[in-house]
Amino acid sequence: MKKICYDCVIVGAGPAGLKAASILDKQGYTVCILEKEKIPGGKLNIWHELFPHHESAQAIREQMLAGTAAPIHSPVTIKSISRTADGYCVKDRNEDEYCAPALLIATGFKPFDACRKEEYGYGIYENVITSVDLEQMFRQHRVVNASGEVPGKIAFIHCVGSRDIKVGSEFCSANCCITGIKQAIELKKMIPHVNICCFYMDLRLGGRFFEDCYKTSQVKYKVQYIRGRLSETNENTDQSVILRYEDTLAGRPAKITVDMVVLLVGMHPDPSILHLLPEIDERVGSDGFFGKGKIDQADQSSDDGLFFAGACTGPKSIIQSTDEASAVACRISLYLKEKLYTETEDQHARLWIRHSG
């Protein structure tokens, strides 16, 4: 039961948290990171390769961990977060307290629970998996269906848990389309003869080099794209899956039998931190993520020492998370400078003298 004071406490050791920590501690602030899983790295622990250049998630993870000397406490289960005169105090289950004038929430996202879309048969049909499940197969370098055989035909379903009023999430997760393309390319590299069909409503490829990935997947890897959203799946006796859909571009009903279905699940807000934060309602947008999505919104959170960065403020790629984390780290730095230092001048330079205590 101890209490340690820092300049900034970061909740979440994912890409955003690690990036912010690396910038802040290079500037001389004392930082600590609290992580709820056993090992740090956030979702970098479950990806295999990252879009758009197929960089190794493991390598990026090592790089980011090496970039900061801040202590990472994991696993930590936060019991309460309270606001004090000096800032924030985070108490964990063992009654240890971590106090700081600035608190950065970088808790990331939660992949959509595909069981909620019961019509796709996740959890009911053996050969229906999610993109997260597929990524685990990539990490183990072994992609097989439920019977242990290498699949000959695979279908990717876009927009599972995104843009869907029926699951209460009307936003677009912005990164599932490119994830699907990336995984399709990885599959083709691993199993050259496999047939891949992607079923989409729209292809949202806004990031840099995303369109190149798309063209590559079509031209070099012969991935098929069919515009038609799936509503149901059905299982044959041999556990292969029949899909019935409308090819909307052809305007005709169609069907296909595949050995495996991959659901590209969306990025949903992680609600576990919400009930712990004091007076948080105005800071949460209508879609459940932090912040209101307005221009230059990082500035708006700067007056009370509570900051948000990364996927917890909206669906983001890792590149975007680290970029935002850098920006927010600078905001934190300015905030702390005002709070902790007084400015003086001598004949040579401007100095900032730190307050004691």
């Binding site: 629970d113 019961e118 959890g123 049909y125 053996e126 499940d133």
Partner: protein
Amino acid sequence: MTWFNVILILPFTLGLFVLLGVLSVKYYQWFRALNPRNKLRLWKSLSRKEILSSITEIFRECLLHLRIYHQKRRLWYMHMSLAFGWFLLIVVGHVESVFNTGHILSSPWKSVFFDYFSRGQEATGWHLQGFNHLMDLILLFILSGLFLAFYKRINSRSFGLKRRPLHNPHDRIAMLFLWYIFPMRFIAETLNHAFYGGGGFMTGSFGNLLTLPDNLNYLSDIAWIGYSISLGGFFVVLPWSRYMHILTEVPHILLKNAHIQAYQDKGCTGFNIHACSSCGICLDSCQMTNLDSCNGQSYYFIRKLREPSGVSENRMMNCLMCGRCSADCPVQVDTLSIRMNERIRMNDDLAFDYSYLDQQGKKVPHARIAFFGGCMTQLVPGVTASMKKIFDFYDEDYVMIDETESICCGRPLFLSGQKRAYFEIMKYTRERILSCKPDLIITSCPICLTTFRNHYFFPVPVIHHTQYLESMISQGLLPPGQSDIKTVYHDPCELGRYLGIYSEPRRVLRNIVQLQNKAYKQNQGLCCGGSIADLEMDFEEKRSIAEDAIQQLIYPDTRLLATACPLCKVTFATPNIIPVRDVAELYAESLSVTIPARELAAKEALMQN
């Protein structure tokens, strides 16, 4: 008969004649409009024992309003005091006048205006005095109810009504006349006794208190005329107002006890909609009342039907057809049939073409049990997968008719009013199901089951899957072992109110989970809001009904909501408040058959939530 007497009784008599005339015409028209089969049923019922139950019901409901007594006490007292009180006033008044004049058949005016006609005559004998007091007591009884009625206009919540019904002009005028009758009688009698003496404990005493000079005795006459006008005015307006229910309830009860439904029967519909007393109790039962945009409740619907302009399409289509209003109605108006009639009238002439259904020609293998999931089965594959596991476990010879494609039973078409189209689909679906020559048909969808029982007339029994599971349990075929997960069971409207299947699902659940259910009257179960009968509501409105229903059903420590209808399952799962499972899924889990690893993980995640 002096000329003044004539003036006095004229409004009353004219009103009464108009009333009786209009009533005769209307009742005659409605009786004639009954279907021939229903007419026969009615005549038969009059000579059977059912007539006795009808008579007791007339007494219990029309006069004593016992159904309201069991729901809202204050409201009951208000309605009952007016109804029963007025009945007593008439009957006892008539007896009083018989006693006084010695003639059994004295004219109605003698009893209605008794105190006027017996002016100056001393009441001799304790029994005649007794009548004075008795009549006063009854009048007091009525006035107390009237006072409550005034108060209800101001503060309806104290009567347990969440929403005050908004009356239209006809009803308001009739209500005014009705409210004038008894105070006018009170004033007339009091003034009468003030000038001419006599009277009971109330009117007599008040009369004695008023010391007025004798030359003002015309005031008493004016008051009597006022009384007569109130009565006459009320009688004249009555056939066009909600108070038509006072008399129409009687034939309505006769029809109801003869098991005559208003479905496709203009005459019975006429009796039904005029037997509605516009009491407003159905407004509280209706789950759409909380949505500000709703105007489709039975109260407004039936009232609009009585008006010449009729019902607008939006109002007619905006109904869940859940049956809660009919279950709570003190008069037992057959709201569902009436609404179906309107829908059929408006929509039955729409075009359709189902010839493509004929080209299927699929061969379905023969089996003992035909399992029909219903069209929504494809959206809840957990239910069919569970039923498969269960059938395999019990080694049944079964075929799943709609395993890989959706087949519709046709009921959604029927509920929208497109009856001919529905019968067309029914032909094909019926043939499809019977093509496997089953001995038993099991379905997991209560909506399909309702329509199978109503119209399909299968040559073999057709049951719900919870009934099948319950029979397995009765035969001792469920392996022991019960999960302790706290579960609440929700009665689907079609399974509960329409089909009366309440106990089987509960029995099944009690053996496999820890069932915690509030004890409530069976037919007052909540609707999930997902109704296919409602065509007006948008997604947000339906979801808010589902959320409200869930909050009312569950306890703070409930972990699971169990239901027996695929539509309820989809509707309750959408707000993501609590996990929802079908009874079949829970049964399959409890059979401890091998569960794929991912499903187990999902189950564990569910336990941790």
